[in-house]
């Protein structure tokens, strides 16, 4: 990510060009991904608009630099903080009044001031930005995860294989894409024609096509409440592997609130992925309200992106402190929009376990496969069990 000042071939408005570049860096610092071509396009757009019109200027920046809906609110906040001087002063005096979260103000403010005061020498800027990232992460949650490190750790490659194996029996969906085969029912005219051109167009060899089998998308719900604390490291490794296998995987963490891991698992190695987890949620180790969280899912993400072809995996012990009837209706809603629901319960491995706690009892009728999972090494066994259940 380039944080240094870029030498731009557009010297039209010296101050504005520089400030736009600094502003795009400010966006990056605050977790919005801004590409260099986007910044260049913004600069190209500057002569096209009326710069004295703030609204036009703002739309120019927003349309070019932002590409996700969830970033718009953050952009607005940063835009006002950076480009409207009176607001900047306001924040200097009484930050609590203008923005809701004090941490956010700090991060905005620290970066702003740093840019205003220095004349953009990257060497000077670096120490301040490390300070700022320390502000953004909560160190407490990190410690929690690291403390579990002594728990089992399975080699990634092995893990990928066993997860693929686990999901294989469910991945039977026919895609609308075709692949070419020697035998089949549908003729592939394209291939036939090409193959037989050598015989002057006389059709001697035939070629066929058939539907490809497509992997189903997995939606993974992970319980991170207090009672599940000891499984955190294991499950994060599982989730990371799941995400690496298929980029379409959606991961949600829940305790009393639901949070979605959008890009945190995008990093290729497990350790850098895990270091980004604390920015996700503040609810590690809290209580559980499964029904409430599923409701949030069904109402927001679920409505848009959930399809009946997906597999839902819920990893939880089923200890629920929320309202039972909410859980029931939400499980029913989820079930209606899902291909299969798999519930992985870490307690199930213990001898003599019965799903008697109320949350688990309520959810169970809507679950297609109820499987134990207290150990990563068990996944291979889970896969075999799933095959048996389906057969």
């Amino acid at each position: 990510m380039p944080t240094e000042k870029i030498d731009l071939p557009l010297p039209t408005a010296e101050g504005l060009v520089d400030n736009t570049v600094i502003f795009s860096n400010l966006l990056r610092k605050n977790g919005i991904s801004v590409s260099l071509p986007a910044v260049l396009d913004t600069l190209k757009g500057l002569p096209l608009i009326d710069i004295s019109n703030l609204q036009e200027f703002k739309i120019l920046l927003q349309a070019n630099l932002i590409c996700r809906k969830q970033d718009i609110a953050k952009f607005n906040k940063l835009f006002h903080g950076y480009w409207l001087p009176q607001k900047r002063v306001e924040r200097d005096i009484a930050p609590e009044e203008s923005v809701t979260s004090p941490e956010e103000i700090n991060s905005i403010l620290s970066y702003n001031l740093e840019n205003i005061s220095d004349t953009r020498s990257p060497e000077q800027r670096k120490p301040a930005s490390t300070q700022q990232s320390a502000l953004r992460y909560s160190p407490e949650s990190l410690i929690k995860i690291v403390a579990r490190e002594e728990l089992q750790f399975v080699e990634s490659r092995v893990l990928y294989e066993v997860i693929c194996h686990l999901l294989k029996p469910l991945n039977s969906r026919l895609s609308r894409r075709y692949k070419y085969t020697v035998r089949g029912r549908e003729l592939s005219l394209r291939r036939i024609l090409r193959k037989n051109m050598q015989f002057g167009g006389e059709l001697i060899f035939l070629d066929f096509k058939k539907r490809k089998v497509k992997k189903r998308r997995v939606l993974f719900f992970c319980d991170i409440s207090g009672s599940m604390d000891i499984y955190t490291r294991m499950i994060l490794q599982f989730v990371h592997a799941l995400d690496r296998i298929d980029r379409r995987t959606e991961i949600f963490f829940f305790s009393t609130e639901l949070s979605r891991a959008a890009f945190q698992f995008g990093a290729s190695d497990f350790d850098s992925a895990i270091s980004r987890i604390p920015e996700l949620t503040a609810n590690w180790g809290g209580g559980t309200r499964i029904g409430h969280c599923l409701q949030i899912f069904n109402e927001s993400y679920g409505r848009r992106m959930h399809s009946t072809k997906d597999i839902v995996i819920i990893f939880s012990d089923g200890w629920d402190r929320g309202e039972i009837d909410v859980l029931e209706t939400q499980m029913a809603l989820l079930k209606r929009k899902t291909y299969k629901i798999i519930w992985l319960n870490p307690l199930m491995g213990t001898a003599g376990y019965r799903p008697i706690c109320q949350g688990m009892r309520t959810a169970l009728p809507y679950v297609d496969y109820f499987l134990p999972m207290d150990n990563l090494r068990d996944i291979a066994f889970l896969g075999r069990m799933l095959v048996k259940m389906i057969a």
Binding site: S33, S35, P37, A38, D41, K44, G45, L48, I49, D50, Q55, E56, I59, L60, Q62, A63, N64, I66, C67, R68, K69, I72, S175, R176, R177, L189, R190, I192, L193, M197, Q198, G200, G201, L203, R247, R248, A262, E299, R303, R304, M305, S307
Partner: protein, 309 residues
């Protein structure tokens, strides 16, 4: 004023859009203006029924040019998006020419020419832009799979396509591209950052009213007010599917067909299917809101009532 001249200013675009019965705010007009001058595609996101596709239709009208539409679906591939050879026609030609004892090379020169080429939307956009800039609408991109997105990236970057048998075709004028998505999945950033992003929200009361009155000029003013207020209210409710502006227009049109000048409780009940499309939503509405007389009056107010208060 010529439509193309109006693209020289943001106000001009705003005005032209309005004349073409598309009510919008300055932000969308600015994005259109930038897209036209920077030659960048517009990427529109928003809830269903807020008028994303309509933008492309209106733009084509405005520029007095062709609209080329590519509706995305799962499994959409280069064959159905870019070009394909007309295989049955080629086979027939081969059979017809069999008597003339042509060599395979000569045959190839005949059957791999433009008359045997089926142009799909993307190729059409590239080839037709040799005369003037068409509008290319890539609708509901989120329905196509990721493989297609990657392919699109290549086409959108330079509007150039190589057909091995013919050669490289390049657009002289880049088409104006509008991409829409309903966010059933996230589109990859690589594609998004090549576009100008714009989020279309549900309209506010004034805008909704203007839209109703522009689209349905015959509508009674009180009824238009009532419908707009009703829709604003119903969107505040906790529903599975909030009705968009297209539902508003459907509903208002239905009311016109039923010869209603005023929205009353009975009319709402019989036409509820125009705005709510889930059984649970209808039930929730009937038991939770409609049963409550206070809320009912609140939903049925018109502007004049509100001003009286």
């Amino acid at each position: 004023m010529n439509a193309r001249d109006s693209f020289s200013s943001i106000e001009g675009i705003c005005e032209q859009l309005k004349q073409n019965r598309y009510i919008t705010d300055q932000s969308l007009a600015t994005v259109v203006y930038l897209s036209y001058h920077l030659h960048k595609p517009i990427f529109l996101e928003g809830e269903p029924g807020v008028g994303k596709t309509e933008v492309a239709l209106v733009l084509a009208e405005l520029l007095a040019t062709r609209l080329i539409r590519l509706q995305c679906y799962e499994g959409l591939d280069a064959g159905s998006a870019l070009y394909e050879w007309n295989y049955p026609k080629q086979l027939l030609r081969i059979k017809m020419d069999e008597q003339c004892s042509q060599s395979p090379e000569e045959m190839g020169q005949v059957i791999y020419t433009e008359p045997y080429l089926i142009k799909r939307p993307l190729l059409e956009a590239i080839m037709s832009s040799q005369e003037n800039t068409p509008v290319l609408l890539i609708d509901e991109l989120d329905r196509a799979d990721e493989e297609f997105e990657a392919f699109l990236l290549e086409v959108l970057s330079d509007f150039q396509v190589s057909i091995p048998e013919i050669g490289t075709l390049k657009a002289t004028y880049k088409p104006m591209v509008v991409i829409t998505s309903n966010r059933t999945r996230e589109i990859h950033d690589a594609l998004k950052r090549r576009c100008l992003f714009h989020w279309i929200d549900y309209p506010d009361l004034d805008k909704e009213l203007k839209i109703i009155q522009t689209r349905l000029p015959d509508i009674d003013e009180t009824l238009a007010h009532q419908v707009a207020i009703f829709m604003q209210n119903i969107r505040r409710q906790d529903l599975l599917k909030k009705p968009g502006i297209s539902e508003t227009l459907d509903w208002a049109e239905a009311l016109l067909k039923l010869n209603r000048n005023v929205l009353d409780a009975e009319t709402v009940e019989i036409t509820l299917g125009c705005i709510l499309k889930y059984r649970e939503d209808i039930q929730k509405f009937k038991t939770g809101i409609w049963a409550d007389p206070d809320k009912r009056t609140q939903f049925l107010t018109s502007f004049s009532d509100r001003h009286a208060h």
